[in-house]
């Protein structure tokens, strides 16, 4: 069993009182009073509807909320299930709230959840975000069933997203994982996940929880680790993801630093797995019925993005010189000279740029934080181009464009390996 000193005595006592469970669902929170009741109710309904006979626990690691979130979790209860479901609960759903400390809450919450799964010998686990406005009971089925009934080890989500949403995942994270690790996962950094008890123990046993990159973006590490260690991975369509806390309020520079930094560090740590891997990427089974629905339109300020790209490329020339090859830098300068109407950031150049950033990160040509910060203006340029290209595109056309981008990542993979293994 893994180290459990980070769990409070009270939490361990309450877990022990519950005994063994079949399913563990966790909702890590921090000041989510506005949405938490809806999320907990959806989780309960999903569990009663789809897993009425199983032994279940709902774990709520809280990061020290001051708005009464843990109380809301404890008190939220559906008085009469018959008004919503044809079935009624056969067992009690245990609810345990605990607090986790530390500066970097995200990874600590994950650790608490994994340790609880380990102690309770849970067969299947699911984690959902606390700020979801679009969660339905079917999400729980989508995350738990592939593990509990189909014996998969990891379930990553697929969301129905607006075409301008999730652009970092679509343009860097997912295609790099597909090309480098050879596994098609559309949302490797989603806040929702399903996993087996076996995989939870495996994660917990890894001596990486003190590592900055794991703490920065635990989900990316978990996804890549499951792939490299031979666990069965699948995806589950959950529907539209609408969060109460708008993602645009987060800082793009910090998010790139965390997400892309974690991805590059994972590539470094798991180099032995992917460097000599050959062959096309393997498809990942998808559960659930994929549908599309109208989503709230999003407006992006193309002019601002383009101006920030052009200014960034011109101002950061001395930094970019030490990261990119002269050829790539020349091409990026060429792209930055285009006016708004003609502006296009070719996908070939984009992939080349990302791979050169990855290799330079690996060789530490400059401070790694600085290197990741230097990617932001170029990313804005690429996104500006994507927004312009996809302006009138329908869902099918967008899927085709994304697939073409992924294939470009796969085609340029040998260049990545060559640059990665080349001596600095």
């Amino acid at each position: 069993m893994a180290e459990e000193t980070f769990l409070s005595d009270d939490f361990v006592r309450r877990l022990t009182a519950v005994g063994e469970v079949d399913i563990l669902v966790a909702v890590p929170t921090f000041n989510n009073r506005g949405t938490i009741e809806q999320v907990v109710n959806a989780v309960q309904l999903g569990l009663v509807k789809y897993f009425p006979r199983e032994r279940i626990v709902l774990v709520n690691p809280d990061g020290g909320s001051r708005d009464g979130t843990p109380e809301a979790v404890r008190n939220s209860a559906i008085q009469d299930f018959r008004t919503m479901l044809s079935s009624t609960p056969l067992r009690t759903i245990h609810r345990i709230t605990t607090t986790y400390g530390g500066v970097d809450g995200r990874s600590n919450a994950w650790r608490v959840i994994l340790a609880a799964a380990d102690l309770l010998r849970a067969k299947a686990c699911a984690v959902v975000s606390p700020d979801l406005e679009s969660i339905t009971p079917e999400w729980i089925e989508g995350l738990v069933r592939p593990v509990y009934r189909e014996k998969f080890d990891l379930v990553t989500p697929i969301y129905h997203r607006h075409k301008y949403d999730g652009l970092l995942v679509k343009n860097i994270i997912a295609p790099v994982i597909r090309a480098v690790y050879g596994t098609k996962v559309r949302e490797p950094a989603g806040g929702e996940m399903g996993f087996s008890g076996r995989l939870a123990c495996h994660y917990l046993e890894q001596n990486v929880w003190h590592e900055e990159f794991v703490r920065a973006f635990t989900e990316i590490w978990m996804t890549t680790r499951a792939i490299t260690d031979g666990f069965k991975v699948c995806q589950s369509f959950l529907g539209p993801k609408i969060q109460a806390r708008a993602p645009s309020q987060q800082n793009i520079v910090t998010t790139i630093q965390k997400a892309v930094g974690t991805l590059f560090r994972c590539m470094e740590n798991q180099e032995a797995f992917w460097i000599s891997r050959n062959g096309p990427p393997q498809p990942t089974p998808v559960f659930g019925f994929e549908y599309s629905s109208g989503l709230e339109p999003r407006r992006l300020n193309k002019k601002k993005m383009l101006a920030m790209f052009q200014n960034g490329v011109s101002q950061l020339a001395p930094v970019l010189e030490s990261i990119l090859s002269p050829e790539a830098l020349r091409q990026i300068h060429g792209v930055s000279q285009q006016n708004e109407k003609q502006f296009r950031f070719p996908e070939g150049l984009w992939v080349k740029t990302i791979y050169e950033f990855a290799a330079s990160f690996h060789h530490s040509v400059i401070n790694r934080e600085h290197l990741l910060q230097a990617l932001t203006p170029i990313y804005r340029g690429r996104i500006c181009s994507v927004v312009m290209e996809d302006h009138r595109a329908d869902a099918e056309q967008i899927e085709q464009n994304l697939d073409a981008l992924c294939r470009e990542y796969e085609n340029q993979r040998p260049q990545l390996v060559e640059k990665w293994t080349r001596k600095a």
Binding site: I252, R299, N301, K304, V319, T376
Partner: protein, 234 residues
């Protein structure tokens, strides 16, 4: 009268000749020592380069990140740097010995002072080296932060940060070797104050409109700037 002048001239020339006869061998010795020192330093530099290349010192420096650190401080690679240090240290020692061979007592005193001074110079050099590294790091951090915030004069700002840090460390280095302790401190204070005051005046007078725009953007037009969303991070 004429004879007296001639005698004086003869005497002066004689003593000059004697001094010259005594000094020339010393001068020659000094030149020989310096030339020999140059050759010895050159040979040692080549030897150091060869030895460290054979012992794959370069590889070790690369893996330890020393090469990158020196590159960041605009210094040559470690092997080259070591060779240069050995060359200059050996040659300076020979130059000092050569000057000593001249036998000028005042110079001798200065030379002994110089040798006493060497450790302080060494510490000052280290201070400067660290200063260059820090200046480089912070100027790049400023450049990136300013460029990502779409600040138009990011490079200027970054250069200013670099300059200030370099000035600060040069001041520290000079203080370390005891050069005009108070003068340096006062000069630094005046220079720093002048830069800050100049910036404030320049921004206040020349950039009134920009300042107003910045403040308005920050506090008054928040609603309108939110109309167009930025990229969603994930």
């Amino acid at each position: 009268m004429g004879e007296l002048i001639l005698d004086t001239l003869r005497g002066t020339l004689g003593s000059f000749y004697n001094a010259l006869v005594l000094f020339l061998p010393r001068l020659l010795s000094m030149l020989v020592i310096m030339a020999a020192g140059f050759l010895v330093a050159l040979v040692l530099k080549i030897m150091v380069r060869r030895i460290f290349s054979i012992a794959s010192f370069r590889k070790y420096c690369d893996s330890a990140g020393l090469t990158q650190m020196m590159r960041k401080a605009a210094l040559p690679p470690p092997v080259e740097f070591l060779g240069q240090v050995v060359f200059w240290v050996v040659w300076i020692v020979f130059i000092v010995l050569g000057i000593d061979a001249l036998g000028i007592s005042a110079l001798r005193e200065q030379i002994s002072r110089f040798f006493m001074f060497l450790p302080q110079i060494f510490v000052a050099m280290i201070v400067l080296f660290i200063g260059l590294l820090i200046a480089n790091f912070f100027s790049r951090a400023t450049l990136l932060a300013a460029a990502n915030a779409n600040y138009p004069s990011a490079r200027l700002l970054s250069s200013l940060v670099r300059l200030l840090i370099v000035i600060f460390f040069v001041t520290m280095a000079l203080e370390q070797i005891g050069l005009g302790r108070h003068v340096v401190l006062i000069a630094f204070s005046i220079a720093f104050g002048a830069v800050m005051m100049g910036t404030a005046i320049a921004f206040g007078l020349g950039g009134r409109d920009v300042a107003r725009q910045v403040l308005e953007k920050q506090f008054l037009q928040k609603g309108s700037s939110e109309k167009d969303e930025d990229i969603s991070p994930l």
